[in-house]
Symmetry: C2
Subunit: 386 residues, 2 copies
């Protein structure tokens, strides 16, 4: 009997938070008021200018396939966006994709052979490892802690590099830790991977959402890197599913062929809507949102420690706090389940992001208002005094 599930699926697990999400829905169906701090999706609606552009485009009725690499105008707008940040990228190297998910599919599909390994940090976003597995590769998860800013470094890359290594992935700002790799550390990491002859993948989907210092794209240091980005987070367009991938010149042809075959193209109306993201008015709206996220981060970083959580590195970007809960519970997954059950507060357990000290950590997403989070902290306090 051959009608069985492909072997790769044994290594691709569901997220633990899905179990919590499902339970949260059940509780809500029974009238409980669940406070969601588990979801990696901003509570803001899509910016008005982007909605308006989407509506204008739809009224034409001409929702036809675009070229596989995306609308030329959008690729050029993205190139201009880089240019405004002092980085020159040929629009031909930019591929519009169905979200950052599509960008990862494309990047790994054109570069990873079965058996090859990609170095990445533990903790990290769990899909990244699963994308590698999809193509028969394996991730090598390197334990990182607060002393490393939860990021890989040139030294860690050199130390863990082996014959079967294809490359290294750095996500900055990081999900789940919100930490940013320093400019010089990023430059050195890219140089090290290049020296080793590997591919450097830079997950920059939280770029724009940084609160203290500026963040550098890997493109500032090399033309030979893969950069994954998205309109989902900073630009507030999660459900539209539109992101992009920048590839080294030598990979343009392969990316074009693979995109033709596995996507045909990205949603047309999403691309036209995304084109409206770069106006000064919209960027001003996004800046206001960024300041609100910063306020939320500061609120959490000030108040979570009062409850006994430890935050070893203040997050500088994204919308997550990765808090050490080991003074409060032995197993953060059990903690999260009980917290949801008794107090209707949903958070994500560390084990969704790796194995290294995972059961000692909880990810709080500040994708809810300060008022809602204040209510959540009151419930947490009640929970901890149980």
């Amino acid at each position: 009997m051959k009608q069985h599930i492909a072997e790769r699926m044994h290594g691709i697990s569901a997220f633990y938070v899905m179990e919590l999400l499902q339970r949260a829905k059940q509780l809500e169906a029974r009238g409980r008021d669940v406070i969601h701090m588990e979801i990696g999706e901003p509570d803001f609606p899509t910016p008005p200018a982007v909605i308006a552009a989407g509506n204008r485009f739809l009224r034409t009725g001409e929702v036809k396939y675009t070229p596989a690499a995306g609308l030329l105008a959008l690729r050029e707008a993205i190139a201009d966006y880089y240019h405004a940040a002092g980085i020159n990228v040929d629009a031909r190297r930019i591929f519009v994709t169905p979200g950052a998910s599509g960008a990862f599919l494309l990047a790994f599909g054109i570069s990873i052979n079965p058996g090859e390994r990609i170095l990445m940090a533990d903790p990290c976003y769990p899909c990244n490892d699963n994308f590698v597995r999809l193509f028969g590769g394996r991730s090598e998860l390197i334990p990182v802690g607060a002393d490393d800013d939860y990021q890989l470094s040139a030294d860690l890359i050199a130390e863990h590099w082996g014959a079967e290594c294809k490359g290294a992935l750095i996500a900055s700002p990081s999900n789940p830790t919100g930490t940013v790799i320093g400019r010089e550390a990023l430059r050195q990491a890219i140089a090290k991977v290049t020296e080793l002859g590997g591919c450097f993948y830079s997950d920059e989907i939280y770029h724009g959402l940084v609160y203290d210092d500026a963040v550098s794209s890997a493109l500032a240091f090399s033309d030979k890197v893969f950069v994954i980005n998205s309109f989902s987070k900073f630009f507030g367009m999660t459900g539209w599913r539109v992101g992009w991938l920048v590839v080294p010149e030598e990979f343009i042809d392969a990316a074009e062929r693979l995109a033709q075959n596995i996507f045909i193209a990205t949603s047309t109306q999403s691309q036209y809507a995304a084109l409206a993201s770069f106006t000064p008015e919209n960027l001003a709206e996004l800046e206001a949102r960024r300041l609100e996220f910063q306020r939320r981060r500061d609120f959490l970083c000030e108040n979570l420690p009062k409850l006994g959580f430890r935050i070893a590195r203040k997050p500088q970007g994204a919308f997550y706090v990765y808090a050490d809960s080991s003074d409060l519970a032995d197993d953060s997954f059990e903690f999260a389940k009980e917290l949801l059950e008794t107090q209707a507060v949903a958070v994500t357990p560390g084990r969704d992001f790796g194995v290294y000290r995972a059961d000692r950590h909880i990810r709080f997403a500040y994708t809810a208002s300060v008022d809602r989070m204040a209510a959540a902290l009151t419930r947490l306090e009640t929970f901890l005094c149980r």
Copy 2:
């Protein structure tokens, strides 16, 4: 130096028609009036009811992620659509995907192991083979001709089955031939694959667009099949990128896990818009379009033979005529290039669909009005008299 392209990309080729498309654009940029009969995309705009639904949804601003498997309401609407055709499918088996492309990614990703083979017809849609390669599998292309209705049969499947076979794919109506597998032949093919212990994949993306007899979904004969379908063709929603996959019960969990990881979800506004497809008013609009396609098919099938093309099997569905050009030219690709260059008529060469008698065939897409096609045939006549 490891920064090289993945080996799988050597087997994934660009479509030959892309070369023609690019040239067509150059000609248009110089003011030439190109008649497009190469494109697998209807000329009709998205139906008004669907556009209206998309606009209504966008105005809410709440374009957030949906569940990975799609909106429950849409999965249920699709289940109801099957139910109206006399087929019972549990909505839990239906996964909404980013186009049929996403459905193929999901179906093959959860079922094909490296080294396994999938039987498919030659000629067939070229992406199907490339999706198999993406996961380290290989297609076995089985030459089929007019006597086979350009379709696999239980006998052909039995004859070509081997130890490394994972399953068989049947696309009906077929792209490029427009032929439909008979109800009994489909039943037998499914029974044979099941008996052999393999997976049966049914590409039904042109369902709804049939002109003579009704067409049966593979789901009418078995619950153990994978069915790929889409809102692109019959429902007129190409650029929206929304399709669906039906999986056997045992694959639900794997499909859920893989969809979470590689898509997050399908474009939200596309899903809400697709929900408006099933109203009686919209179905009436689609029926009018179907009749127009039928008129176009009949026009081509009557007139192409007058120019010397042979149509060995009258197409019964989709919007393609696969015409034998061997009385007119030795190499249909060269023919297509010259036709575009001298007469500004774009068609797709057979070699985009396989190797079996490929250079003797041309695919005409009737995605242009009868008037435009009449003009194209006049130009063809001039070309043939050169």
